[in-house]
């Protein structure tokens, strides 16, 4: 979990939404498994298999909150998504599953987009991609590095009598 070293797969498309990643007709499943074969199912060309790092255009993962998009990417073999921006809900879903969202500056993004198939190293502990720093939520990073179960963490955090003093 600390390091991912792989050749990149590049999708030079901006605003890839989760309907593209996994079309709605595949959401009727009641498990998380087996969605990799439906990744980008309706695109004329599906991404090549073998790479663990997907480099995509800006605003990756926008649209629907379907976590199936993350499951599909991971089942296909991806362990990290690299872009200059990643949509909120998708990013949260990715972190929940250990798919690393790597948000880089535009120059680094351009460089990576221009080199499909390049060998790239992502170091979660150092927060670097080929030596370039990336930001990631500190709690998610800690959790992933330590193998902490988030649900257990939350269960331990919530007092028995938790209620809010909210306006009625």
């Amino acid at each position: 979990m600390k390091e991912i070293r792989s050749k990149t797969v590049v999708l030079s498309v901006d605003d890839i939404d989760t309907d593209q990643i996994i079309p709605a007709r595949f959401l009727k499943v009641t498990t998380r498994l087996g969605l990799g074969e439906h990744l980008f199912a309706d695109w004329p060309e599906r991404p090549p298999a073998g790479g663990e790092i997907l480099v995509a255009g800006k605003n990756f993962g926008c649209g629907s909150s379907r976590e199936h998009a993350v499951w599909s990417l991971m089942d296909f073999g991806f362990r990290a998504i690299v872009s200059s921006s990643i949509a909120d809900i998708f990013r949260n879903n990715a972190l929940k599953n250990g798919l690393i969202p790597v948000v880089v500056d535009e120059e680094t993004h351009r460089r990576l987009l221009a080199r499909p198939g390049a060998e790239v190293t992502i170091d979660l502990e150092k927060q670097t991609i080929d030596g370039v720093h990336f930001d990631i939520d500190p709690f998610a990073r800690y959790r992933l590095l330590q193998g902490i179960d988030e649900l257990q963490f939350l269960l331990d955090q919530v007092p028995e009598d938790a209620e809010c003093r909210c306006p009625r």
Binding site: K28, T30, N59, C62, G63, K96, L151, L154, Q157, C164
Partner: protein, 429 residues
């Protein structure tokens, strides 16, 4: 608690923090209401089952089925996988003690339509659902947002969520909407202006005289599509809650202003909700998937299907608006009218709206998400154009190869009558 001026979002957030956010850890946020539907919940219930956990507060949950349910009379499933998913929700709700508005319920409907109908959506509440259009409930001054299935399991088990606080973004709308220009056109114009990632990391608050003039259903339409601008949530301060207003001098991280008086009916031409133009304008750039050339107006283009429905525009006021325009006329395209809930359906039938639609040649359906997401058999064939009152025009959203043009109920109704992309103001005047 801070004494400096706070925004509406700040106030609702602060009132729900169980454990404060630190640099190393997110806040623990209490969730007043957890809405559940059949698509994003099965794996979450499995987690609880696997770990021997109960649902912490079943009385704070409400479940319904809407995405993969048939809209044909009799609600007969033609897809065994969809049916299995719906049955799974029935089993899960029974096992975990959660109130379900199921297939035989007279209150069932699209989750974001029935929440308010049932009085569960209330000002100042935190509301989540495994569905990005949860932002709809922000119309009531609630902090309402979509979550993923893993987070659904967290909320089921603890009634709380780990969350980092988003930033504040004020959208001020001056002036007033002109005849024929609706709340749907307003939100399409806002998204066109700030972009599909303009709101990322922010909670939008819609304010100003044009927003204050909106009815509750219109406010729901606006807040519904906040997610299409990438926002965490969208909120509108309730009219009669002095405690749920943004304070004078409250700081917003971003602000944008629009003049509603200048807005026109909007349509999308591309394959994301931000690719929208006034209905009479020329398409600014060619789109291969939509088979549209730059420089030509969409107005007058023949359409194959018109869909009036979805959590964006399927409430009684939407149906009344569409019916008024369609009354006494016939449709020239296949038209599906899908009320947002059994309650809306009953109301519409009491007002004779169903007869208006049916006499015009449109199909009057049972409630559900239907062709917005096309999971239940209601879908476009490859290459077909639809004018749709829903919220997403992504490639294949309404069926592989389907071409979606998003619009208001008025624009959709006008387009149904003419069989072409139309400006509703021509019929209204």
């Amino acid at each position: 608690m801070s004494t400096s001026p706070r925004t509406l979002f700040d106030k609702v957030w602060d009132a729900h923090v169980i454990r404060p956010e630190t640099p190393d850890t997110p806040a623990v946020l209490f969730i007043d209401l957890h809405l559940i539907h059949e698509v994003t919940s099965p794996q979450a219930f499995d987690v609880l089952r696997e770990r021997g956990l109960r649902v912490r507060s079943p009385d704070r949950c409400m479940a319904t089925m809407d995405h993969s349910t048939p809209t044909t009379p009799g609600l007969v499933f033609t897809d065994p996988i969809a049916e299995a998913q719906v049955r799974k929700l029935e089993e899960n709700c029974k096992e975990f003690g959660i109130q379900l508005y199921g297939l035989d319920s007279d209150r069932r409907g699209i989750v974001h339509v029935i929440g308010p109908e049932l009085g569960l959506t209330r000002p100042g509440r935190t509301i989540v659902c495994g569905d990005s259009h949860t932002s709809t409930h922000g119309a009531f001054g609630a902090l309402a947002f979509g979550i993923g299935t893993t987070e659904v399991s967290h909320v089921l088990a603890t009634q709380c969520l780990l969350q980092r606080k988003a930033k504040n973004f004020a959208i001020r709308v001056e002036g007033q909407l002109q005849p024929g220009v609706t709340a749907k056109d307003l939100i399409l114009a806002i998204i066109a202006k700030i972009g599909v990632d303009g709101g990322t990391g922010h909670v939008l608050e819609y304010m100003g005289p044009a927003v204050r003039a909106l009815s509750m259903e219109e406010r729901m339409t606006v807040c519904n599509m906040s997610i299409e601008a990438g926002a965490r949530a969208g909120m509108i301060a309730p009219d009669d809650r002095p405690d749920l207003q943004s304070d004078e001098g409250a700081t917003f991280d971003r602000e944008e202003t629009l003049d509603a008086s200048k807005l026109e009916p909007m349509i999308t031409y591309g394959t994301n909700p931000g690719a929208a133009i006034p209905v009479r304008d020329a398409v600014p750039q060619a789109d291969e998937y939509m088979a549209l050339e730059a420089g030509k107006p969409l107005l007058g283009r023949p359409v194959d299907v018109v869909f009036i429905g979805s959590c964006t525009n399927s409430r009684i006021s939407d149906l009344r608006a569409a019916a008024k325009l369609i009354e006494g006329r016939k449709v020239s395209a296949r038209t599906l009218v899908v009320p947002g809930s059994q309650q809306v359906k009953r109301q519409a039938e009491a007002e004779g709206l169903n007869k208006i639609f049916q006499e015009a040649g449109a199909e009057w359906r049972e409630p559900g998400c239907s062709m917005c997401i096309a999971m239940n058999g209601d879908q476009l064939k490859p290459g077909q154009y639809s004018v749709s009152t829903s919220n997403r025009n992504f490639k294949g959203r309404q069926g592989a190869g389907g071409r979606t043009i998003l619009a208001s109920p008025l624009t959709a109704a006008a387009s149904a009558v003419s069989g072409k992309v139309s400006d509703p103001r021509e019929i209204l005047s």
